[in-house]
Symmetry: C2
Subunit: 327 residues, 2 copies
DNA sequence: CTGAAAGCGCTTACAG
DNA sequence: CTGAAAGCGCTTACAG
């Protein structure tokens, strides 16, 4: 059996209350007792049971993180930063990959509540998750509106879409097409599309957006891209709403012998570390993933401290245009 | 306050024992009582506290996962599969990013033990982690030897290295250089290097390996690659031990106006989904990440069930050569 | 078929 | 400065 606090108490010849005190460094204890207790803990190889502590304290110092999937470089990087920052605050992370499926999101959320997490950071596309939302349960959403009361942290999608579109225009593109996710999802990413449409109109062009599903099915993405090329023979600029799609666009363009950037210019979105290494030639709008993580955690920690007023309901972090050879 | 089992009992007019029974579906209970209890749970919006259950059961159904960082596509994908498969077995995952730092690995491991995880899957480069290892505590290592008793799951690194080297030879490369991690780390990945060296020798060539640190510092990788090109002007084939390094090699080659594949052929390693999408032209050795995850979990679950004998101490899963335009 | 009691491993008033 | 007692929210023998 694992040694318990009583075993330590016995070994040190004190009461379990005293052991608990030195463990938590609370109250007055003589140095001698302290030393004895520490020695006993070492000797019997004692490791405190955080389950029991949490049960009493009603604080687990665990947060739940729901992302679509960490294999996607954006979410993988976000998960990395969120976990790292949490660790620096003494918080732990229960990881959940929802694959954008609402049924999974709901199950995960219930699981997290059963495990008494102190809060949840959620990157999800489905509002259904709100069924479980309780008044004053700490939740922060990344890049997606969940409800009126849940703070959202994201980057300046409108500015990103604007910069991307303006760059393509500036570079002389005449037929610029946009690829984005389903518009029904109420995500700030819709602002990328909005910006694209606004800028196009301002410049007397007709905006055309192709919608890809959010199923992570590469085959479907490829088919959509083929359709785009087939239907839009004059296309000379594409602004894709993420780098993976942009990469697929570039691959398909190569197949069709369209030379990048002379015949076709491509701009992606996200600018992850991995994207920068694997596809440095792609021009992209970089999101400040570390800042998004930091901000989301700051807000979540405030909620956990019970501060539900004065929360910034929407935080918009700056994006950076990174020009590569694809434009 | 959150409703407890006693609140349910009161609402349903039964004892807390009975509520517990319907919750766990154990023992005989009349259908009528069951219905009453379920109704009461719905009414007061009851969510069982898994902390309390775990405290009693001495089982949390949580496993710890220590990876270097999920922002790396290989580990991000591994984390995704591990978490997904765990979820299908009713297990949850506490995520830890060690950034390959031994001090963090140790802290994380202690944290996991305090949280009473049922087991740990660890992808780490440091044997120090074994300081905390207790007899019969469930641990599985991925791709790295931790101790004689800890099962390791990985892919066939020797075969991967062999296939990569043989391909470059077959394609006519005369000066093939290998890039790998520090040899001190006792990882099965050393076998990639061993295979490269063996095949080179068999073919009367002199193997030359450049070692990169495992610090995730891109700048250091770039510098090493520059050094390689400077020192090895005749190089016409490079086998890199992961796809990110291979990508950096290709980028540097481009800068130096070395045409791929005619003047330089490059083979990477890992073959992640993300790599396939962002850099499909890279020839690579693909690891079966989903299978690695599945196998590691199978073994871990056996350990959790107390089966520590007859464990496969080393599992070697098959790799696949994926030929792209870089060779 | 159902309930009262003890206990999982902790912490914190309350006394002394 | 230290300890006995109660309790966090559950589950499981043990009785009936």
């Amino acid at each position: 059996m694992k040694p318990s606090i009583d075993d330590v108490a016995e070994a040190a010849g004190v009461s379990r209350t005293t052991v608990s005190r030195v463990l938590n460094n609370r109250g007055y204890i003589s140095q001698k007792t302290k030393d004895n207790v520490y020695k006993a803990m070492k000797e019997i190889n004692y490791i405190p049971n955080d389950l029991a502590r949490s049960l009493f304290n009603k604080r687990t110092h665990i947060i739940g993180l729901i992302v679509p999937k960490t294999s996607n470089p954006f979410f993988g990087e976000l998960a990395f930063h969120i976990e790292s920052i949490c660790a620096s605050f003494g918080f732990k992370v229960l990881l959940c990959n929802s694959v954008n499926r609402m049924d999974k999101e709901e199950k995960y959320l219930e699981m997290l509540l059963r495990n008494q997490v102190d809060g949840v950071i959620v990157v999800t596309y489905n509002r259904g998750i709100m069924n479980y939302h309780r008044e004053n349960f700490p939740v922060v959403a990344v890049d997606h509106y969940l409800s009126e009361k849940i703070p959202v942290v994201g980057s300046d999608n409108y500015d990103g879409g604007k910069q991307a579109t303006e760059l393509l225009l500036k570079k002389g593109c005449r037929h610029i097409i946009h690829i984005n996710g389903p518009i029904e999802l109420e995500t700030p990413a819709n602002l990328r599309r909005k910006a694209y449409e606004d800028i196009m109109m301002e410049n007397g062009r007709t905006p055309i957006t192709y919608e890809v599903s959010n199923t992570f099915d590469q085959q479907i993405h490829r088919e959509l891209i083929c359709k785009l090329f087939d239907e839009q023979p004059e296309v000379d600029g594409i602004f894709a709403s993420d780098d993976l799609i942009a990469a697929s666009v570039m691959a398909e363009a190569k197949k069709r012998n369209k030379v990048i950037p002379s015949q076709l210019k491509v701009v992606g979105y996200d600018g992850t570390e991995t994207g920068q290494i694997l596809l440095p030639e792609l021009t992209t709008i970089q999101q400040p993933i570390d800042l998004i993580a930091k901000t989301a955690i700051d807000i979540l920690l405030k909620e956990i401290e019970g501060e539900f007023n004065d929360l910034p309901l929407e935080t918009c972090l700056p994006v950076t245009l990174i020009e590569g050879g694809s434009t």
